[in-house]
């Protein structure tokens, strides 16, 4: 009897938490489907009187937010693709290839992680300005290409690659590049998927740096476009929530599809949000 009661109490608490967690998403979706003005009507309604896609149409047709969606996708895909190559090579070398200064360099990288990115932002902006990368996608992408947490993740994983495997390939006369491409890269696949998900989501969700670097509305990524849009359209709740759905949906879907990978990445530790 007591057991049954605590089972019920536990599930009630969990369900209440789940409702509280999902409520903002549910309302966002619901409001985005409402006809104009319905979300700010009194008394407030939780569900659209009739669902409409007009807000989404307005986003794409009148406000050209499809362009910002493409900007976000481009920045996230390119930076993740390049970071995967850079980080996998560096992580593998720090784990498996002996070169002078290796451990000192690696320790230096880890120490550098305590420095918050904001310290670098102002000079970085001036630097990008001199080389003409302000207000370009590359200005957003380049500073994110060699994340230390990624190098760390790959290195920890690569430590488990057996040396004999690499030695055998060397004895057979394989070049280091060939060994990396044919043996190491496939073995690193699981950790690279994890890192890739983190990197993509980080780039997609990033706000402050794109806000600083991008000055032209046509180049805005979705989060920056939204923050800008709410300045003019704060009263247009239905439109703004539709924009939020558009922004959140891709990352939410990727998370649902690759949940296990993502969660394992967090529990490996040393991963920054």
């Amino acid at each position: 009897m007591r057991r049954a009661l605590s089972v019920i109490a536990l599930h009630l608490a969990l369900a209440a938490g789940a409702v509280a967690t999902l409520l903002p998403f549910a309302w966002m979706l619901s409001a985005s489907l409402m006809p104009k003005g319905e979300a700010s009507r009194w008394p407030p309604s939780l569900l659209p009187s009739r669902a409409t896609l007009a807000n989404y149409r307005e986003l794409f047709v009148r406000l050209d937010l499809g362009r910002c969606f493409a900007n976000s996708a481009f920045v996230a895909i390119v930076s993740t693709g390049l970071a995967l190559l850079i980080v996998s090579a560096a992580g593998y070398a720090f784990a498996k290839l002996r070169f002078p200064g290796r451990s000192r360099l690696f320790r230096g990288l880890l120490t550098a992680m305590v420095i918050p990115a904001q310290v670098a932002m102002l000079p970085l902006f001036l630097q990008l300005r001199t080389i003409g990368l302000v207000n370009t996608y590359w200005g957003v992408i380049i500073p994110a290409l060699a994340p230390v947490f990624g190098i760390f993740m790959v290195r920890q994983y690569a430590l488990s690659i057996p040396d004999e495997l690499l030695e055998a390939a060397r004895v057979d006369g394989a070049s280091e590049l060939l060994i990396f491409r044919r043996i190491v890269f496939p073995l690193l696949r699981p950790i690279l998927v994890t890192f890739g998900v983190f990197s993509f989501m980080g780039a997609w969700n990033d706000f402050m740096w794109p806000l600083i670097v991008l000055t032209d509305g046509r180049r805005y990524t979705l989060p920056v476009a939204l923050a800008n849009l709410i300045g003019e359209h704060a009263q247009d709740i239905e439109l703004m929530t539709a924009g939020s759905v558009l922004t959140v949906l891709p990352v939410l879907l990727i998370f649902l599809a690759l949940q296990r990978t993502y969660v394992e990445g967090i529990t490996m530790g040393g991963v920054k949000e």
Partner: protein
């Protein structure tokens, strides 16, 4: 680092060359786009570099600690510093507490659909802060916002969440907890799963209640995770920017009640182009984060 026995030096040299080549792209990028700007940031903080300097670097003058002296006399800086500490010291522990509670609920022995609840609680973590802040801005709307409707449903008076300087920060903290408690929850769940169930069984045989089990088994076992979570949460919370930026339309209002250090740096540096001054704000942030990290690590070492 000596070569492994039996390895011809030619091959060791080849390996070293390959190693350097493999780390070169990453190290070059980090050097150019992190190390150089960080060093430059320290230098900039000692200059009066501003909008006129942007066109012509030579107009910047060395002012030593002048920017820091100016900071100390700037009431807005103190306001931003106070707000940031408010967010870290109130929001941080609350967030860790909620994460721990959620982890224990999700991981409880009797619970079914564990995976489902874990996924739901984690969902806000992966979403875009700027986009959910847009949504929360409406949830906090004084008239038709869901937050006030819920308060009314239980008979509580309306709150002007983002318009009242006393409530604006709590509103941001509430949203921040909703957004990120799932992250630390996952770390705690991993920790909880590492505690042998026999410990709890033995404790129950000895007559220990739930609270005593929590105090004497769960908490000590989770200590390493608590330190890790404490440090990363603190570091992240000190850097708060997007939440107040989007909720308040980039102002940090009402009456600077939600202006954070990073927001202040952003406004000074990128809106008003007081670059030397803004660099000094960034350095203060760095020193605070460094001190906070060292203190937490020290506390941990003393306790264990």
């Amino acid at each position: 680092m000596s070569a492994r026995p039996g390895r011809p030096p030619v091959r060791a040299r080849r390996e070293a060359r390959a190693g350097l080549a493999f780390v070169a792209p990453a190290l070059t990028l980090i050097a150019l786009f992190f190390v150089v700007p960080v060093v430059a940031g320290f230098l900039l903080a000692a200059t009066d570099f501003d909008i006129y300097g942007i066109g012509d670097f030579t107009t910047a003058r060395f002012v030593g600690l002048g920017n820091f002296a100016a900071l100390l006399h700037d009431p807005v800086f103190w306001k931003a510093l106070g707000n940031t500490f408010y967010f870290v010291l109130v929001g941080g522990p609350l967030s860790v507490g909620v994460s721990l509670g959620a982890a224990m609920l999700v991981n409880a022995r009797l619970v079914r659909f564990k995976g489902f609840f874990r996924t739901v609680y984690f969902a806000p973590v992966v979403t875009t802060m700027a986009a959910v802040a847009v949504v929360w801005r409406y949830l906090y709307h004084p008239r038709f916002g869901l937050a006030n409707q819920l308060l009314a449903a239980v008979g509580l008076p309306d709150v002007n969440w983002l318009g009242d300087p006393r409530w604006a920060m709590p509103a941001i903290i509430l949203m921040a907890i909703w957004k990120n408690f799932g992250y630390n929850m996952i770390i705690f769940v991993a920790g909880l799963q590492g505690i042998p169930t026999t410990l709890y069984e033995a404790a129950r045989v000895d007559g220990a209640g739930p609270w005593q089990q929590f105090r004497h088994i769960t908490l000590p076992a989770l200590r390493p995770m608590l330190v890790f979570v404490g440090i990363i949460t603190m570091i992240g919370y000190f850097q708060i920017f997007t939440e107040p930026y989007v909720l308040t339309g980039g102002t940090g209002g009402p009456l600077n009640a939600t202006l954070s250090l990073v927001m202040y740096m952003y406004k000074q540096g990128f809106r008003w182009w007081n670059i030397g001054f803004a660099a000094a704000v960034a350095l203060v942030l760095f020193l605070i984060i460094l001190a906070g990290t060292l203190v937490q690590m020290r506390l941990q070492r003393e306790r264990s």
